[in-house]
Symmetry: C2
DNA sequence: CAGCGTAATATGTATAAGCATATTGTCCAG
DNA sequence: CTGGACAATATGCTTATACATATTACGCTG
């Protein structure tokens, strides 16, 4: 019985049913307010949510127009190995392979916006599920942006978990692809002879400073990523 | 100089700077209203946006609490082959391989919620970039939910493009994974001897009725998916 | 008829005020 | 000391009102 939500859902219904087709200008706030027996403010709030959901577009004097939903956006939750492994009921195992402070390769250097010669920290580690290799994490961390990284040996805590606690970030980008494994990866991940790896590349920034570039290598035979719909109306979508 | 936006950004700053750490309960609406020299309603609107952005959580009597941003959500735009190919400056080519009305395999039948024996339409087709195979599309369409599909031969218009025009959907789910190609796929896509395929599986529903299940097979050597950050504050984020 | 200025209009922002409702904390009874 | 009733409190919802602002439409002028 929450009015703005009832109104929002009623309008949503008219849009998805096709009664109000894309391109159409829907009635104005005052008309809707009269129809639903409420004030303009309440209608405005319902419409604001439809805007946030990407269903309509509003312009002063121009009115509210239904958008043709491209509908191609989806949300992915970037999986964290440890959580995935534990959620599946397996024992999580962590092993640090190498840590070193070094001159990062060119692409990483550019991503961090560092001058040549500036140092960064490289960490490689292995995540296991019930002892079986599940993921190789290969990561560069910008020592200029995260000085504390120099004092970390990552022997017991994985770079991933350390970073989320120690360094807030403001932007992240990911790339998903499949690759031929290197011999080293094939051995570490115990891959089938012809098996490829599913790579998740993760880059994060704090403001404009690059923080980390990670390559997460997963056995392609036992890895996948799933999406869900973009949440249309925030946390509590009501009955809609 | 829009107050609710200025307030929202001010609060955002305190959160991302760490001044208000995750778990902390921030001042109440009345206090903030006094601080910013406005009414409770204006503060409430700013806070509502922070909730939508997933930065804070609000509970009656409990106050407003800063959330530790897991920050693992990202948005993917499911690529449409034709657009990708044309955007890359290549000539797009389309070729229908097969169409038939048939009893769908068990997993598809379940996804559509169909009784055994109910019919569905299967379409396979090939998308090319400058003549070179770029994607094989293998799709089942629920004939019960989309009767018009029976009259389509998909000779010139791809099932994808026909569907977006003909059938609005309300839900979609995707899965990304890498697979060994079948011999048929290897031939169709002109794959390297050891090359795998990157599979995008797409399922859509209208309300509770399954509409289509599509498998989009891409040469793994030349395919990837990228994400972007979830838009924090809708279309017009202001200065934030 | 082209171009410009102005009025009409729909949304955008904000205030003030009241009641609703979930939740927490407290205090009393057993 | 436990459990339940109750009051205090912060958010949640709605109304009524006023002014701001972008944009469109119209009509006047040259």
């Amino acid at each position: 019985m929450i009015k703005h939500r009832a109104i929002r859902d009623a309008l949503l219904g008219r849009i998805v049913s096709g009664e109000w087709a894309p391109g159409r200008v829907i009635p104005g706030e005052v008309d809707l307010a009269r129809e639903f027996g409420c004030t303009r403010a309440t209608v405005a709030r319902a419409l604001r949510e439809l805007v946030a959901a990407g269903l309509v577009e509003r312009r002063r004097r121009g009115g509210t127009r239904v958008l043709g939903r491209s509908g191609r956006d989806a949300v992915v939750t970037i999986p964290i190995v440890r959580e995935e492994i534990e959620a599946a009921g397996h024992a999580y195992g962590y092993e640090r392979l190498t840590v070193r402070e070094a001159d990062p390769p060119e692409p990483i250097r550019q991503a961090f916006g560092l001058r040549p010669g500036a140092a960064a920290v490289h960490v490689a580690c292995l995540h296991r599920a019930d002892g079986r290799p599940a993921q190789v994490e290969d990561r560069w961390i910008n020592a200029a942006a995260v000085p504390a990284v120099r004092t970390q040996d990552f022997r017991t805590v994985s770079p991933n978990e350390w970073l989320v606690r120690a360094v807030p970030y403001t932007r992240a980008r990911h790339e998903f692809r499949a690759e031929r494994p290197t011999d080293r990866l094939r051995g570490l991940l115990d891959l089938a002879p012809d098996e490829w790896v599913f790579v998740v590349e993760r880059r994060t920034w704090r403001e404009d400073a690059g923080i980390t570039v990670a390559h997460l290598y997963n056995p392609a035979d036992r890895f996948r990523i799933t999406t869900r719909d973009p949440v249309a109306f925030g946390v509590d979508p009501g009955a809609g």
